[in-house]
Amino acid sequence: MPFEWVLALRFLREGRMQTLLIMAGTTVGVAVIIFITALVSGLQVSLATRTLSTQAHVSVRAPDDHAEPALERGKTVVAAHLEPREQRLRSIDQWERVYRELPEVPHVVELSPLTTGSGFAFRGNASKSIALMGVIPERYDRIVKLADRLVAGAYRIGPGEALIGTELAKDLGAGVGDRIRILSSENRDDVFRVTGVFDLGVKDLNRRWVVMPLRSAQSLLDLAGGVTNIDLTVDDIFAAEEVAQRIQARTGLAAESWMAINAQLLTAFKNQNMTTRTVRAFLVLIVALGIASVLVVSVVQKQREIGILRAMGASPRRIMRVFLIQGGIVGGTGAVLGSGLAALMVYAASMALLQEDGSPLIEGGIEWSYYLVASATAVITGLLAAVAPARRAARMDPVEAIRYG
């Protein structure tokens, strides 16, 4: 073992209480950094996943109609009143071409064409305002897992068949096998047999959604062969907004990500992230100060020994390395022990924190990137914290150190 390591290890070993305490401090620091990172991002993913279980990551639709000034006025300012145009129900222009192109956009995973509009559902004397959801069942199931949300019946949407939510079922007094009449906003109507009842966990959706075959919705809404939306999923949910922007730029269509729709949630996430970043920064600072203070004390205590080591032929550079290594060892030990502690804490949290359905709120597994980043941070922090004490040790005048021993 090289001279510098022999000394660094021995100094640490003989520092007993000091070494133990600062290593414990570093360990706790590393563990807490990893734990809060895993906890917060776990909670966010869990919350986002729950939000996304009932909606697409990105939804593409025809661009809004907007009023165009009749005159090209150039730079002339003309007093005018532009009335916003009313929005009509319409299909995405050449949707099949767009549909073929979208998978080329990075991150896009699954696609599902959709024709949606509003209408009423009738059964007996009951009538309820509803949202028509015309889908291709096997495609739509990849966006929103309706099949998993069924409380009655089966995920089967053949011609003349429809799925309804629990609330609508209650309002209409309809169950599996019953028939309901749907009247669209375009004043066309048709009769559907209920094949399944779903519970999406959101009352409003359970009250309004009537999921039917794409063709039925197209004919009810007078959009033969057209679709109003293309819903899609992406491989990284937090890249959804970026994907939406890219689609918008590429196709000229309107694309809305779940992040734009749930802006409040995103703001909350951002604030959470800023909070955890702040906490992390302060933890790093505290650990650094702790290591530095222990080493500064050690340098002062070892003044005489440093002097004699210099006299025996140890260069200032090597004395400096002895203390840098100590900082690195403290950081490294904290990284290893802290990672172990963090893994236990994350596992414990995954067992303790459960969602309403009994599934864990956060994953108990090990997200390596958190551990690697925190460990690297600990080692670098240890080294940097040791710089000032190490320089002080290296600058120590051996004559002074020996004379006033």
Partner: protein, 232 residues
């Protein structure tokens, strides 16, 4: 003198606070030659510049002017790193306060100069350290920490350490300063023994006239100048 001297000083001067109003010259032109294997005492009252001279010879401080040759090597030509290496290889130190490393055993302390020079432990340095500790009468205490040893024993370890690299010159600054007279005699005898058997030159700063007269040569420093030189 057939052999080249181990130490040669020519007109060595040392001033502190150079260029300031409180500038003070501590050494006023020292000429001194120490032959290989010589056993010399450096004596003089407090404030005569003994320690400063010893530090300059020990390459811990640079002189303001003058030439210094150690083992034939001109010091002014060396940079900091070169001085560090030369110091480690040709000079051994014994101080009034032993300055042993309390974290290390007696054996490890004795190996320290060689560890610094080679960079890692070797079997050879371990054997030499054991042999040296045996020579100073601490063959049974190799694994003891300095704190478990008496003052005299600590100073024996320090002498063994000073000889670890088998340096041609050992500088001792009041090596018996804080020991009782009986122990001081023993330590002195030990240095004398190494001087005879290994041919190691010693330059010993001491206040103790009893010990000084038993050296081959006495150099007396007074007010930064060599006042008197006497050979036994």
């Amino acid at each position: 003198m057939a052999e080249s001297p181990i130490l040669r000083l020519e007109d060595v001067r040392k001033s502190y606070n150079l260029g300031t109003p409180i500038q003070a010259e501590v050494l006023h032109g020292i000429d001194l030659t120490l032959a290989t294997g010589e056993f010399a005492a450096l004596i003089g009252p407090s404030g005569s510049g003994k320690s400063t001279l010893l530090h300059i010879i020990g390459l811990l401080e640079r002189p303001t002017s003058g030439r210094i040759l150690i083992a034939g090597e001109e010091i002014s030509a060396l940079d900091e790193a070169g001085m560090t290496v030369l110091r480690g290889r040709t000079l051994g130190f014994v101080f009034q306060f032993h300055h042993l490393l309390p974290e290390f055993t007696a054996l490890e302390n004795v190996m320290m100069p060689t560890l610094i020079d080679i960079g890692r432990y070797t079997r050879g340095m371990r054997e030499r350290a054991r042999w040296l500790l045996g020579k100073v009468g601490l063959g049974d205490a190799v694994d003891k920490r300095p704190t478990a040893l008496s003052g005299g024993m600590q100073q024996r370890v320090a002498i063994a350490r000073a000889l670890a690299m088998n340096p041609p010159l050992v500088l001792a600054d009041e090596p018996t300063g804080n020991l009782d007279s009986h122990t001081a005699d023993e330590i002195f005898a030990l240095m004398r023994e190494f001087n005879r058997e290994e041919g190691t030159a010693f330059l010993i700063v001491t206040h103790d006239p009893r010990l000084a007269v038993r050296c081959d040569r006495r150099v007396e420093l007074m007010d930064g100048q060599i006042r008197l030189e006497r050979s036994a």
